[in-house]
Amino acid sequence: MFKKINLWHILLILIVLSAIVPILFMVSNSFKTLRDSYGTMLNLIPTHPTIKNYLLLNKQVNLLGLTWNTFLMATIVTIGKLLTGLLTAYAFRTYQFKGKMFIYLLFVATIFVPFTIVMIPNYLVISKLNLLNNIWGVALPQLCDATGIMIFLKTMEKIPNTLIDAAKIDDIPKRKIFFNIVIPILKPSIVSVGAIFFINSWNEYVWPTLILKDKASFTLPLALQNYISSEGGTNFPLAMALSTIMVILPLIIYLIFQKYILNSISNSGLK
């Protein structure tokens, strides 16, 4: 058995450690006192474990409110991106129209436009719409995503034409072909792309900081930033406690859907 451990295994073990150690580091420090965290920062097991950090955090900020804001924003963005991505991809897949390739390439090209370029125009539009300090202001410019279109189109291209034809012969309305036949086939890739969209949006920082100024509208990453560079210096264990809270939901999502996520990476989900 030991003979089988070769260089690749060592590399894999290193990669696994580099992923897991920061998480353990974060969780363990969130249970340390401020003094311990400076003295024994690298110890994975706290010498005087305490949940005071969490209790203090609960007093200082509205944890439920923050989580709800973040969840709401991430959910709106994810649903928006999935819906527009699926519909657009289906249109590209099914209909023939003039300039189709050009429009598709135009969509894909938006992937390469850096966020910093659209940041200011987007901000101006959102402020004109009076959506500052509003979750919708954060979500609105993000309801479409060319990455989703591209991934869904690639998956849809694997659906045989005859399947759509068979449904047409059966006089199934277009809407039902889409929802009852295409969507179920795409389920694995919808779940995995959706999970990635959700986690990305959950962690988003720069754009929400621009839109959300009012503390009541903050999302978790914005609140976390307050703990890291607030005027009074960094309360490290407190920041770790908030980080831990922030990681819980994405972690659960990932654990539930990892089968799909891995599946859609290794194949398209279609036999």
């Binding site: 005859t162 399947l163 034809d165 068979a166 012969i169 006089d171 036949i181 389920k187």
Partner: protein
């Protein structure tokens, strides 16, 4: 079920994809309750024709009429056409039962009626025990039956099948073919069936339309397609081993091969020019001794024993190769064989365009 009343008529249909002409001015009419087979090599336009009848493809010009009404009008009144695809196209996320039920449910067929029809079809096709399986859990033959079943539950007057048997094992194919034949005998639907397999076509078709390069070369009952093909293409496409074709010349009431007479007839009224003579392998009369001065002399190159019959490949030094089918095993490799031709069992084709000149007794 009563005999279907639905007729199908294609009027001067053409179809172009980009600049390629797939179908060129086709006329075709299918009688009510008829089993019509579209037969041809791949790329001849037979599937495109079927797809136009199904309404999946718009003809570039011309009209598809069903029951003397334009197909486009009919589509809107829920007129049902059922179709089976080559790759079956079963809905992968639905069980066998749901696959059969889906279209009926969408079209609001009452639940009792739905159940009755589906149970019936499952029974007929021997699928009852697979009703709760997903398509991915079925074998090729089972999928094919589900695909046929999905067409059957609709009780449509018109049933279109696009190479439904080409993806299943040879052993099962014959059984599935018989099943389709039985279904037609019971349900009497108007069927258009696309295939590239001539045996399937001969076995199933009331009539066969042989297609090549987007044109119907001949449409007729199987016997005539085989015995009296309209042209050289049809003659060569139908029949295994292929029909023997000899380039000949007609001169002074004699059919000449390499300037030697191989057939003579005083009553012929043919232009003196080149022709192509076609003889089916079973119509080459072989013997070990010369019986007539016109007999062709050849050597047995190889022998294939198919069990039911023996196929001889005959060659001579004039570059002639003929295939012959005999029932008895009386010849040996490298042995001399004398072949006698008869006018009544051979076909004469125009040299250039390959048209059958009907010189035999099939007038």
């Amino acid at each position: 079920m009563n005999k279907s009343n639905a007729t199908i008529e294609l009027k001067n249909i053409s179809k172009q994809f980009k600049k390629n002409t797939i179908i060129d001015g086709m006329d075709l009419s299918v009688k009510a309750g008829e089993f019509l087979v579209l037969l041809g090599p791949s790329g001849c336009g037979k599937s495109t024709t079927l797809r136009m009848i199904a309404g999946l493809e718009e003809p570039t010009s011309g009209q598809v009429m069903i029951d003397n009404r334009d197909l486009r009008e009919l589509k809107n009144d829920g007129h049902t056409i059922a179709m089976v695809f080559q790759d079956y196209a079963l809905y992968p996320n639905m069980t066998v039962y749901q696959n059969l039920e889906y279209a009926l449910k969408i079209h609001k067929v009452a639940k009792d009626e739905r159940q009755k029809r589906i149970e019936n079809v499952l029974e007929t096709l021997n699928l009852t025990k697979y009703r709760d399986r997903l398509p991915s859990q079925l074998s090729g033959g089972q999928k094919q039956r589900v695909a046929v079943g999905r067409g059957m539950v609709k009780k449509s007057e018109i049933f279109l099948l696009d190479e439904p048997l080409s993806n299943i094992d040879v052993q099962l194919r014959e059984k599935a073919r018989d099943e389709i034949q039985n279904l037609h005998a019971t349900n009497q639907q108007t069927i258009v069936y696309v295939t590239h397999d001539q045996l399937e076509a001969m076995a199933l078709g009331d009539r066969i339309a042989v297609m090549d390069q987007g044109i119907i070369q001949m449409i007729d009952v199987p016997e005539n397609i085989y015995n009296n093909p309209a042209n050289l293409f049809v003659a060569e496409f139908i029949g295994t081993p292929q029909i023997n074709v000899i380039e000949v010349e007609y001169k002074d009431s004699n059919v000449l091969f390499n300037n030697k007479s191989i057939l003579a007839d005083q009553n012929l009224n043919l232009k003196e020019q080149k022709y192509r003579l076609g003889i089916r392998p079973e119509n080459l009369f072989c013997s070990k001794e010369r019986q007539n001065s016109q007999d062709l002399e050849l050597t047995v190159e190889n022998i294939i024993d198919y069990g039911r019959f023996v196929q001889l490949s005959l060659v001579n030094d004039e570059g002639l190769t003929l295939k012959s089918i005999v029932n008895t095993f009386e010849f040996n490799v490298n042995e001399k064989v004398f072949v006698h031709l008869k006018k009544a069992t051979s076909l004469l084709f125009d040299y250039e365009i390959g048209k059958n000149l009907n010189w035999g007794n099939y007038e």
